[in-house]
Symmetry: C2
Subunit: 337 residues, 2 copies
């Protein structure tokens, strides 16, 4: 019998498709296709190719080395083809007294995670991953302080199936001058829960997941990772601070390192057990001027791109998950990484 489960944070239903369910070990483990051996020569993100990108915004680099030259270990550059641009008019306009639009104001940058091409977070050393998360924090704090921006989104597309064409390990950061419906709906649900219960919905979710245990993957002093009760797709994982915190900018340096540890462990487990699957992750955080919110709680959503989004998902928003979250969690918990 399939089961419908609702995510308390989003109120979205998913179908846990028991009739079609696969055991965790039966998911296809297709290795990524080999890359053109000349790709490295053309890669704008490789060390030594600094001139192939716009001038760097920021880098972690060795003493005495110069911007836009080798010597860095993390490098942040504007996106060459930005989805949004920093300068323009923040006003909303209407066409035909009906269609709302505005200039595409925002900020779009690429965080190059390593000087070398053939790495991913799952295969890097812990120290380097810590640097990535420290850089996320630095950039988040800077962009969030810009009064034009309402949302700063840090995300990663790993693999062609997750929407990237560049193999060199990188993340992206986009700041927007709007709060999109997608985030607004989550905020509304969290607010309603808070008003009814006087507690942060996410804090309660953490408590419930810790009690239930069966979906927990990993827990450290300050973070917990679990497959959500209503996982939308196989091996979906949330990584969330155990302490109430609405905004990613209040992460401390020590927190960043611990978060790097947890994130790397989960990605290593996926890498080892599913043969380097494509994935996206996203850091959800409160809007920039609601840093101290009592009802929202920042978290990372990690989605391996193992199943297709088809017409039913498009039309209903209901995802069909062919893996049982408790089984996915048990499987990942036991993977040695």
């Amino acid at each position: 019998m399939p089961e419908l489960r609702q995510n308390p944070a989003t109120k979205e239903w998913v179908v846990i498709a028991t009739e079609r369910a696969k055991r965790p070990e039966d998911f296809p483990k297709i290795p990524p296709p080999p890359e053109d051996p000349n790709a490295i020569d053309r890669c704008p993100f490789c060390e030594g190719h600094e001139k192939m990108t716009p001038a760097e915004v920021f880098a972690y680099r060795s003493y005495g080395t110069h911007p836009n030259e080798p010597g860095w270990w993390i490098r942040i550059v504007p996106n060459m083809f930005p989805a949004l641009v920093p300068e323009g008019n923040l006003e909303r306009f209407e066409k035909e007294n009906f269609f709302r639009y505005m200039e595409g104001i925002g900020h779009h940058e690429v965080l190059i995670e390593h000087p070398h091409h053939n790495y991913s977070i799952a295969t890097m050393e812990q120290k380097q991953v810590e640097e990535i998360f420290l850089a996320y924090r630095d950039r988040y704090i800077s962009l969030c302080a810009d009064p034009r921006f309402e949302m700063v989104l840090i995300f990663k597309n790993h693999g062609a199936g997750a929407g990237t064409s560049v193999r060199h390990p990188h993340s992206q950061i986009i700041a927007t001058a709007i709060t999109p419906q997608h985030l607004r709906h989550r905020l509304e649900e969290a607010m309603r829960y808070y008003d009814d219960n006087g507690k942060c919905l996410y804090c309660v979710m953490i408590e419930k997941e810790r009690n239930a245990k069966e979906r927990v993957l990993l827990e450290t002093d300050n973070f917990i990772a679990f497959c959500p009760f209503a996982s939308k797709s196989p091996f979906e994982t949330w990584i969330i601070p155990k302490r109430h915190d609405a905004c990613f900018n209040s992460v401390t340096v020590d927190d960043s390192k611990e978060l790097a540890y947890v994130s790397r462990m989960i990605l290593k487990k996926l890498h080892v057990s599913l043969n380097d699957p494509d994935y996206n992750y996203v850091i959800y955080s409160s809007p920039c001027r609601e840093k101290a919110s009592d009802y929202f709680h920042w978290h990372i959503q990690l989605v391996p791109r193992i199943s297709a989004v088809a017409g039913f998902e498009l039309g209903s928003g209901i995802f069909i998950n062919t893996a049982i979250p408790e089984e996915s969690a048990k499987f990942l918990r036991e993977v040695q990484a």
Copy 2:
């Protein structure tokens, strides 16, 4: 300068990425990969293979032929691996006093659109496409009358990139015992617009699109097809009845034929100009017991699967469209199909 546009019906913003924009003729025209020549022997939807599916629910077939034998031109069968099943308990339960779930009640069937394997709506005769839309209507009316169901969703996945593994032309119909957030949010936006303006938002959208002309693809007596102002992806098209109508079940037989004409024309234009792209379409309609709603308006959303959904879309719900809707519309309007 990129532009942010908001869809008035969903309040979702999209980025019209002018910096990355492609001309309509520059979108890749990759033909679908050749199919294994033995696929037809194994295809459960081909005429003569009726025993390979569960017993048919319904068919349009010639006089004197028998169910589950050849002689049909449209055949509807239960999905072999249904996402939802018809019998069970409709009650909602809670685990840990927090996680809501219920049995996966619903209905999931496949509408086989043609007895032969190598067709698609774009390449079928008009008469056959009319029969498909008449069958949609028949099934919609029947399923909607079942008091257990709140939503009936008719959709189509065409091509591997749109989530189907079976090449034989088919649609799917899923009825659910819940109204998902995705539809609820659209209903809420429409309701708010109605309360503010005393008019159906979609009726106004049609009027505005007719006035603007530049995004209109095709118009008949009773239907209009256009690329929405805030198209989420290249060549996204909405097909909508010009007369106010909340529910797909009030479509008449004549309407169905006219709708088949419009839908087939649009799909032929896509087929010819983009080399048979993968696509999904979905018929959005009001919940089953709100048939006569003054504020919702049924419509078809057709989405060619030309661009990838990556971390930014996942985390923000904002889509980045690399085609300018007015250019896509002009291009499709001019394609001879």
